[in-house]
């Protein structure tokens, strides 16, 4: 995989965007936490300071400045003194009592020389190499010229801040790393699928029309997309195949009748001696042309049907009425050709379809049966339903179609040896097959023992409400 491409991937960009967003949100959260922690710690510190101030001032009120100094001495004294007076020592506490001249009366800090109020003072390190201490405290006047300052080192505050900020940095780094890795992995997978689709498309552009996008069988959105694209490609290639078949049919199979027509005209020119002969030859030539035109019409019709666009205008069709009408239509013809046409049609059976095409389909089937059976044959039309299917049968007791020819008779221009002597162009059953396919019907050729049994199985539709 080329590394630059991945950064252009949508997934990667999304991952980066989310990482940034996450960082910003975490930053805001950390800021809030810092603010709250800082506030809490400061107020704890100030409360402790105020407690110390109160103790010292109590001492002063009881026994004057001397006692105040004594209290401070105890507060900041050695552990031994603290133990004696049952005090706990606070190593962070800095207390100083100073007079108006800035002279320290007692304390563990230099004179702060400040007015009453809350403030911070900076204490230079006592030892070389140690840090500055930042002392937050309050200064109060005990009495005229004597002031008290109590403060505490803010080191713990700073340390907490640093710990929180450090934690934030680690989390941020982790997030970025995770986002980058996730983005790369997802982007790679995304790219791999897109590549598979793009490769297939490129292959098709290059002329390998049978290429399809490999599915992974997971049923995810990629598989759905792949399936949809593959179905589209199948449809397009079926249409292409249809077109190619059509062109080759026209190129090859129309040669025969055209040659016949040409020969006939040539013969007429060479041999006709009288106007009558010439006129007769011309009539035959016109018949040949009509035959050619009907082949064209049939081919066009097949290709129209195979393109599948008629399916959009399907409506509810009463198949019972349709088959019955076909029976009525062909009964006289069958009688004239000395065939017995009978029917057994179930009432009020509906399917979704195209009435005109269905009419043509049954017309072709009945005409086929009439043409390809000897005189005195029986032709039987039947329509029956099961729970969900409609089965229409055209059965005859003629010579039938041998098993190995049953697929072939559906091909365009294919004519069985026995049928070649009769009129027809070998397109009737091709059209039937195309119309059946358009209607999602299954066409089966079976042995009627003797004869042929053509079976069409449709999906049933509920009768329309009237």
């Amino acid at each position: 995989m080329r590394p630059i491409r991945i950064f252009k991937a949508e997934t990667f960009r999304l991952a980066a965007l989310f990482a940034l967003l996450f960082l910003a949100l975490t930053g805001a959260l950390i800021g809030t936490v810092l603010w709250i922690v800082d506030g809490t710690q400061r107020s704890t510190l100030i409360t402790a300071n105020d407690a110390d101030i109160a103790t010292v001032i109590n001492g002063f009120r009881d026994e004057g400045v001397h006692e105040a100094i004594e209290v401070v001495r105890q507060r900041i004294g050695t552990p031994a003194i603290a133990a004696k007076h049952k005090h706990t020592l606070d190593p962070d506490a800095y207390i100083v009592i100073e007079d108006s001249h800035g002279t320290v009366l007692v304390g563990n800090l230099f004179a702060v020389e400040c007015h009453a109020g809350v403030f911070s003072v900076s204490m230079p390190p006592l030892l070389e190499g140690r840090r500055h201490r930042n002392i937050l405290g309050r200064c109060v006047d005990i009495t005229d010229g004597v002031s008290l300052f109590v403060g505490r080192d803010t080191a713990t505050l700073t340390a907490t801040h640093e710990r929180i900020v450090r934690a934030f940095i680690w989390v941020a780094l982790g997030t970025c790393g995770f986002a980058a890795i996730a983005g790369l992995i997802l982007g790679r997978r995304f790219m791999a699928r897109v590549d598979a689709i793009a490769q297939t498309c490129e292959a098709i552009v290059a002329g390998r029309l049978t290429e399809r996008i490999p599915g992974r069988g997971r049923g995810d959105e990629w598989d759905r997309l792949a399936r949809a694209i593959n179905e589209m490609l199948d449809r397009i290639s079926a249409l292409l195949e249809n077109l190619r078949q059509m062109s080759s049919d026209i190129a090859h199979d129309l040669r025969t009748p055209l040659t016949r027509l040409r020969n006939r005209l040539e013969d007429a020119r060479a041999r006709s001696e009288s106007v009558q002969e010439c006129s007769a030859a011309m009539s035959r030539a016109i018949d040949d042309t009509d035959q050619l035109l009907s082949i064209f019409a049939a081919l066009l019709r097949i290709s129209q049907v195979e393109s599948g666009t008629r399916a959009q205008t399907f409506s509810s069709v009463c198949l019972s009425d349709l088959v019955d009408n076909m029976y009525q239509l062909y009964l006289p013809v069958a009688e004239d050709c000395r065939h017995a046409l009978t029917r057994d049609v179930q009432d009020a059976v509906y399917i979704r379809g195209d009435e005109e095409l269905l009419t043509q389909m049954f017309s072709n089937l009945i005409e086929n049966a009439i043409h390809h059976t000897p005189e005195n044959s029986n032709i039987h039309l039947s329509l029956h339903t099961s729970s969900s299917q409609v089965v229409v049968c055209v059965r005859d007791d003629g010579p039938g179609v041998p098993v190995d020819e049953r697929d072939k008779v559906l091909r365009r221009f294919y004519r069985m040896a026995a049928g070649r002597s009769t009129d027809g162009h070998g397109l009737g059953l091709s059209l039937v097959a195309a119309i059946a396919q358009l209607h999602g019907a299954v066409l089966r050729l079976k042995d009627a023992q003797p004869g042929l049994r053509l079976e069409l199985t449709f999906a049933k539709e509920k009768p329309p409400h009237k």
């Binding site: 066009l300 013809v333 005109e356």
Partner: protein
């Protein structure tokens, strides 16, 4: 008859004009849609024959434009043979639709039938000695009731409506059975021969005349 022909194929147009004149009809020919519209609006014709694909103005549009003003019968001549094409053409307002190539006799028969004066709908149809009651669905010839099968009844009804005019096999297939393709058996001939046998029973005059190379004509001698 005075006809308007809108056709851009000059060779075909000239031959049609010539053939119609031989039949005693006057034909005005224009070769594009816009001119066709102008002439159709300006003059009165008994019928209009037009190509579906025309320069200047598409045939469908032309029919719609004419139909807003006039009810002159219109027949399409077209190479567009798809099922949808025919439906579209008829929906636009044309009265008939004939696919090229065609036999002149077919066009002539259709134009004659199309341009017949529309008669007020009546519950009975009469031609000579034949009477048809559309409500009772009964047929009589010289007062004698004749039993007909449903499809024979429809066939006779169409013939009666066009009595004394030749109708082609194709017209019968389309109008009686709604079949728009060419069957490879003699469907029409078989039905006609049965109808003829029923009508002629006990009569010496053949009611249905066969017109060679064209089709049939119901005779209604006064």
């Amino acid at each position: 008859m005075r006809l308007l022909l809108v056709e851009d194929d000059v060779e075909l147009a000239e031959s049609l004009v010539e053939r119609f004149r031989e039949e005693g009809h006057d034909v005005v020919h224009v070769d594009n849609g816009l001119q066709g519209l102008t002439v159709a609006m300006r003059d009165d014709f008994d019928g209009i024959i037009m190509d579906r694909m025309l320069p200047g103005m598409d045939g469908l549009e032309l029919v719609k434009a004419i139909r807003r003003e006039k009810s002159t019968p219109i027949i399409y001549l077209t190479t567009m043979s798809g099922i949808d094409d025919r439906v579209q053409g008829l929906e636009a307002g044309s009265d008939d639709y004939l696919t090229k190539p065609f036999a002149f006799a077919e066009l002539l028969a259709r134009v004659r039938v199309m341009t017949r004066r529309s008669v007020t709908p009546s519950p009975t149809l009469c031609a000579g000695s034949i009477e048809m009651d559309l409500v009772q669905r009964s047929v009589k010839r010289r007062g004698q009731a004749i039993e007909l099968l449903p499809q024979e009844f429809l066939l006779l009804q169409y013939l009666l409506r066009n009595a004394n005019r030749a109708v082609t096999r194709k017209m019968l297939l389309e109008n009686v059975w709604g079949i728009h393709f060419d069957p490879h058996t003699s469907v029409v001939e078989s039905h006609i021969s049965r109808l003829r046998a029923r009508l002629n029973a006990g009569c010496d005059i053949d009611a249905i005349q066969t017109v060679r190379g064209i089709g049939y004509r119901l005779l209604a001698p006064n």
